[in-house]
């Protein structure tokens, strides 16, 4: 697709969509959103880019292979289940602790969030793997 309008839009929108996907991921714990939706959104930004230019260009924007995203995602999700073992709780127990950021107030961080981030990365990677491969056909 060689439309300047769309290419410009893809260029400008890519970081915005990416940022938006992160926000959606973060707010997922209390409001609609979460890792799955966030991952889909992140993927859609790159897919749009790939449609406007081509797959190679989108992969350059991504810096890493989508497969790496999948691996990183699965590992993150798996690692997030481990801290519970070290404090003596069963596998997969959610562990939470507060993080004092000073100016931004207290933020609650927990292993479920890390797990959700793993989901985010995995879904993002999977969508890109499938669609990029199909587009390259």
């Amino acid at each position: 697709m060689n439309s300047y309008m769309i290419q410009l839009a893809a260029k400008r929108l890519l970081p915005l969509i990416f940022l938006f996907s992160l926000i959606v991921f973060y707010r997922g714990h209390n409001d609609p959103g979460g890792g799955f939706i966030g991952g889909l959104l992140a993927a859609s930004g790159f897919i749009f880019y790939a449609m406007a230019f081509n797959v190679q260009a989108a992969e350059r924007q991504l810096k890493v292979s989508p497969l790496v995203l999948i691996i990183a995602g699965l590992s993150t999700a798996l690692i997030s289940t481990l801290p519970a073992l070290f404090v003596g709780n069963p596998f997969f127990t959610g562990e939470w602790f507060s993080l004092d950021l000073g100016f931004a107030g207290k933020v609650k961080i927990g292993t479920p969030m890390l797990f959700d981030f793993g989901v985010y990365l995995t879904v993002w990677g999977i969508m890109l793997t499938v669609i990029f491969n199909v587009m390259e056909e």
Partner: protein
């Protein structure tokens, strides 16, 4: 390190350590140390150390020796963890790990086809036994409500009075018997002699094959004492014992002789545990130690002889005392222990075994005869090895053998020395190590006294008979052995190992046929099979509960609900009948968006967003693909279209019924209230959908994303494979 616990264990203390893992399934990682695990632990680490020294020298010419040491250390870790496990599932995991490492070690010389087939055979047998054992463990967990060993040991009466006792027993025995090479699973052990000698010394004499014995001893307080236990174990043990002895007597390969005597010894151990009297448990534990000491030593000697002369064939060797005197002394001492002659510890073990058999009146005669016969063979083999292999005229096939390296001979020497020292001064060891081990198999026993001289009694008479008969059999060795070898090779054409392989081949052929039948390779048939079976099963259920479902229940439906329904239905029908692919895809998209609207209206915002995104992406995917497809032509006949329509209607109908039923029949209070109430306090989140996904049901989610990842890899493989094919053709 383990020894530092010995004092405490000797006083009857036990040590434990537990990490909870999935406690709802009784899965914990826990360790448990008492007399029995201490004895085994010391056996594993002690033998391990000696074998490492031996292997360091022995494995020098092998190119892949780094890999070898990795495997054998991994095995040692697994074996140690196995005997220290405090939870049956922990035990099971390490049990399987020992099987896997054993596979890798037997098949270490993987360029030899015999080694590969022996490795596979050992793996298949021990692992299938392990699988049965796991089923037994699961049943045990259901009965007792825990798989912690400390907990289980107190629950003997519950298990033994449970109607499933026999099943549990059989399944667990399947695991123990395959691992410990009991008849009729014994044949993998001689095959395992393909492994390098350090492996045979370590895995297949002293440690891994004893894992089954360990399990039987460990679970004795729980399972033993019933008639089933007694008869199964004593008969299997006795048969294995005699068969092992017979085959050992008729072999000509030094290592094979040792392998069959190991089988025989394992049979004796099972038999002793099966009798389960005070004296037999004592005999079992002591014989266990005795056997590990002499057999480990002998296997190392076998490796050493193989190394320096280039053969293990007993017919070609003799008089090795003249070239390797020290090693020969160690070997002779070990062989005396194997024969059960004084002053070795083997003598004490054998005396106790005889005594145990005397003490069992109802089966006594049969067992006694079997035991004496086996021991006569042992005496004969030991004497034959002593007088032909080490003493007598020097014979060797190639160059004159060198005096072996100290690193090779030190292991057998140390083990032989221990055999001798314990034989002379038994009481020290028995108080520190054996007594607590015996007590953890049979808690009633508090007193263990060992001595070389028991006084003149019927047991001693039996020993004398054994030795005399053994001497006679030894004199006949040179006449009988070649005949027996001939008999085994030519007359008995039935071979366990071969028939196992044949069965395996037949099985693979059958499964291939079955797979070819079920897996047609056409996606439409898979889909059809899935839809038809699911919907028929569901219809069956729905039919029997049809009264409970109100099929025409439209109260509260607003006009926009109707509008959405019309849109969805119309676009679905359009998608089914249109002649244009593009129209069909867009119509499908419209259906999807319509459903998204429904979700949105009824408050499932998360689901709606997800669905919206997924629908969009699928639409994109389809549109991308459509570009590559050939022109739409109608291939399917009217009949097949009607068939598809029927399947679609049944499936759709059952989904409708299911949803109606789900909304109208409330068997339990819905679980959503629990989630709403606990999401914030327990999981720090207000979005219930997400909290369920990442916290309450995190394991499911992990499984799902893994499946997705695998699917993505599948897509890559499929597409890449296709392009490759396309480029070559």
């Amino acid at each position: 390190m383990l020894l530092s616990y010995a004092k405490g264990v000797a006083k009857g203390k036990t040590y434990g350590l537990t990490f909870e893992w999935l406690p709802d399934l009784y899965l914990n990682f826990s360790l448990y140390l008492d007399g029995l695990s201490l004895l085994f632990g010391l056996l594993v680490t002690g033998m391990g150390a000696l074998v490492m020294v031996f292997a360091g020298k022995y494995m020098q010419p092998y190119a892949l020796r780094n890999r070898f040491f990795f495997y054998i250390l991994l095995f040692e870790f697994a074996m140690l963890a196995l005997v220290l496990s405090g939870n049956l599932f922990t035990l099971f995991i390490f049990w399987e790990l020992t099987s896997v490492t054993s596979f890798l070690l037997i098949g270490f010389s993987h360029e030899k086809p015999e080694a590969r087939s022996a490795a596979l055979q050992g793996l298949l047998i021990t692992v299938s036994g392990g699988l049965a054992m796991m089923a037994g463990f699961i049943m045990l967990g259901q009965v007792v409500g825990s798989l912690e060993i400390a907990q289980l040991l107190k629950s003997g009466s519950i298990v033994q009075n449970h109607p499933h006792y026999l099943w549990i027993l059989l399944l667990i025995l399947a695991g123990a018997f395959t691992k410990s090479a009991q008849f009729p699973f014994h044949f993998w052990l001689p095959g395992a002699m393909q492994a390098p000698s350090p492996v045979s010394a370590f895995l297949h004499s002293a440690t891994m094959v004893k894992a089954g014995i360990y399990l039987l001893a460990r679970l004795s307080p729980l399972l033993a004492g019933t008639p089933e236990w007694k008869y199964i174990l004593t008969i299997t043990g006795a048969v294995t014992m005699i068969l092992g002895g017979y085959f050992a007597y008729s072999q000509t390969d030094f290592k094979k002789v040792l392998a069959y005597t190991t089988i025989s010894a394992l049979g004796t151990l099972v038999l002793m545990l099966g009798i389960h009297t005070e004296i037999s448990v004592k005999a079992a534990i002591i014989f266990l130690l005795v056997h590990a000491l002499y057999k480990g030593s002998l296997f190392m000697v076998a490796g050493l002889i193989d190394k320096s002369t280039g053969t293990r064939d007993l017919r070609k060797l003799g008089g090795l005392f003249q070239v390797m005197p020290i090693t020969s002394v160690a070997a002779i001492v070990s062989l005396l222990s194997m024969a059960g002659l004084p002053p070795m510890i083997g003598f004490i073990g054998k005396e106790l075994i005889y005594e145990a058999k005397f003490a069992l009146p109802e089966m006594g005669n049969f067992l006694l005869v079997a035991g004496v016969a086996t021991n006569i063979i042992m005496v004969a083999i030991s004497l034959a090895l002593i007088f032909r292999l080490f003493l007598g005229k020097l014979r060797f096939p190639g160059n004159r053998p060198q005096i072996p390296d100290l690193a090779l001979s030190i292991g057998p020497m140390i083990l032989a020395a221990i055999s001798l020292v314990i034989g002379l001064f038994p009481s020290q060891v028995s108080n520190l190590l054996l007594k607590p081990a015996i007590a953890s198999v049979m808690p009633e026993i508090t007193h263990v006294k060992l001595a070389l001289w028991h006084g003149f009694n019927e047991v001693l008479v039996l020993s004398l008979i054994t030795v005399i008969a053994g001497l006679i059999l030894f004199r006949l060795y040179s006449i009988v052995n070649p005949r027996l070898t001939y008999f085994n090779n030519e007359i008995i054409t039935f071979r366990f190992a071969d028939s196992f392989n044949k069965g395996l081949k037949l099985f693979t052929r059958l499964t291939k046929k079955k797979t070819a039948f079920i897996q047609s390779g056409y996606q439409r048939y898979y889909l059809m099979a899935i839809f038809i079976i699911t919907s028929l099963l569901a219809w069956y259920q729905l039919y029997y509960t049809r009264e409970a479902i109100n099929w025409w229940h439209f109260q509260g439906a607003e006009f926009y609900d109707w509008a959405i329904v019309v849109i969805i239905t119309a676009s679905a029908i359009l998608a089914a009948i249109t002649a244009s692919r593009l129209v069909a895809i867009i119509a499908l998209g419209v259906t999807g968006y319509g459903i998204t609207l429904v979700f949105l209206i009824y408050g499932a915002v998360d689901v709606a967003i997800t669905m919206l995104l997924v629908e969009t992406l699928i639409l994109i995917l389809f549109l991308l693909l459509i570009y590559h497809l050939p022109r739409f032509t109608n291939f399917s006949s009217t009949a097949s279209r009607l068939r598809d329509a029927a399947i679609a209607l049944t499936t759709g109908g059952f989904m409708t019924g299911l949803v109606l039923k789900a909304t109208q029949v409330n068997l339990h209070p819905t679980i959503s209230e629990y989630f709403i109430a606990t999401a914030k306090p327990l999981a720090n989140g207000e979005n219930i959908v997400n909290v369920i996904l990442v916290d309450y049901r995190a394991l499911d989610t992990l499984g799902e994303i893994t499946v997705l990842a695998v699917a993505a890899l599948g897509v890559v493989a499929l597409l890449k494979l296709k392009t490759k094919k396309g480029s070559t053709s």
